[in-house]
């Protein structure tokens, strides 16, 4: 049960995966539409959709405030908001169905691709370094590697890479595993009558669990982003 990924070459050996491009675009569009629809009628007394989006904003604010004081953390609000919404929507996209055309998998979660999650992780870690230097100065940023003692420096440097790797691969692993199991269940379900009867409840259970996993993973990704950010931008860590 292995679907190929559609890979095309643009030019000079630069390759791209049109299914990724498609799903990234769709995810972004959905997030944008949700945000847009929720903020059409803004009022001092919030109603309906505005309540929802404000709840999301407060939730993200809570994530940031559990790591940073709001004076420093307010600048990361938009980043965290975009991250959690984008990753959540991405995780959900692969659950209801998958589209396979020929032998190529076209519809899936963009976060089921390690390259996508690693891109996000590298972007986030890059931002932590950027803000670490910007907010605390290059000297303090470098001194941070010798804390709490100098012997720790090699470990600290390794930690930066392992942070990046775990942040990206945790998300990828969870979503990819979920989708792989769904695909296996589908192949079981289509194998015969007994398989279909067996697979149906399992599908329902696993999809429900995957919704839970997807939500949790988007939360964890955002939370860890802010944890790493806090490590870099606040002095007491």
């Amino acid at each position: 049960m292995h679907h190929e990924e559609p890979v095309r070459e643009l030019f000079w050996g630069l390759t791209y995966n049109p299914s990724n491009i498609l799903m990234i675009t769709i995810s972004s569009l959905i997030v944008f539409l949700i945000a847009l629809l929720c903020t059409r009628k803004l009022a001092m007394k919030p109603t309906g959709a505005q309540n929802f989006i404000e709840w999301v904003m407060d939730f993200v604010k809570g994530i940031i405030q559990s790591n940073l004081d709001w004076k420093n953390g307010a600048r990361f609000h938009l980043l965290a908001l975009t991250l959690i919404m984008y990753i959540f929507v991405s995780n959900m996209l692969g659950l209801p169905f998958a589209v396979v055309y020929g032998h190529e998998l076209w519809w899936k979660s963009p976060t089921a691709d390690p390259l996508i999650t690693m891109t996000l992780a590298v972007m986030v870690l890059g931002l932590t370094h950027y803000y670490g230097v910007k907010l605390r100065g290059a000297k303090n940023y470098l001194l941070g590697y010798t804390q709490p003692m100098k012997v720790m420096t090699p470990i600290k440097i390794v930690e930066e890479f392992s942070n990046t790797l775990t942040l990206g691969l945790r998300l990828y692993g969870n979503i990819y595993a979920g989708e792989t199991l769904l695909a296996l269940l589908v192949s079981l379900g289509t194998s015969g009558i007994i398989g279909g009867v067996l697979a149906f409840p399992l599908m329902m259970v696993w999809q429900g669990f995957s919704i839970f996993i997807g939500a949790i993973q988007s939360f964890i990704f955002t939370m860890l982003t802010m944890v790493y950010m806090a490590h870099k931008v606040s002095a007491d860590h």
């Binding site: 990924e5 491009i21 803004l42 609000h77 980043l79 996508i116 891109t119």
Partner: protein
């Protein structure tokens, strides 16, 4: 092929670097769009609301303070008014007392004066009456005596005798 499946980014088609760039770009564009269409206006509304609530609370606090002050003022005024009216009544009472004493004293004096005047008048009248009586008694007795004794005594001796006896009678 099996080992390929465990290599990152090489799951089936190699390292598709453009996906990565596209994801980065898409994320940044999405963030920008969210900021422009959702985040910024929403933050503005939330901030406005926060300020609105804060100002309302401030106003309520001010109003409460003002009401408290006014209440205190009113209480002060009420107390003053009460005290004032109290002293006013007290003064009026005192004045009435004084006036009463005055009137009584004046009335008493007036009565005393009237009494004195009446007494003097009575005295005067009495004296007048006594004098008139004396005179009449004198002439009457002379008349009687002269009629009784006729010429036995001179009128001069007779008058002397009568005067003497009247004086005696007056002294008695």
């Amino acid at each position: 092929m099996l080992t390929d499946g465990f290599v990152l980014g090489a799951a089936s088609g190699g390292f598709t670097v453009l996906d990565s760039l596209y994801q980065l770009l898409a994320f940044l564009v999405l963030m920008w769009l969210l900021k422009k269409f959702a985040w910024a206006p929403l933050m503005k509304v939330m901030k406005d609301r926060e300020e609105h609530i804060a100002s309302e609370i401030n106003q309520a606090e001010d109003a409460k303070k003002e009401a408290k002050e006014l209440l205190q003022q009113q209480q002060e005024m009420l107390k003053n008014a009460r005290q004032e009216s109290h002293t006013f009544i007290e003064n009026a009472k005192k004045q009435a007392e004084v006036q009463k004493e005055e009137i009584i004293r004046a009335a008493r004096e007036e009565a005393e004066r009237h009494k004195e005047a009446a007494r003097l008048e009575i005295q005067q009248e009495k004296e007048n009456a006594v004098a008139a009586l004396k005179e009449q008694v004198a002439s009457l007795s002379v008349l009687i005596a002269s009629k009784v004794i006729e010429k036995e005594l001179s009128e001069k001796d007779h008058a002397e005798l009568i005067q003497e006896s009247i004086k005696k009678a007056g002294e008695e």
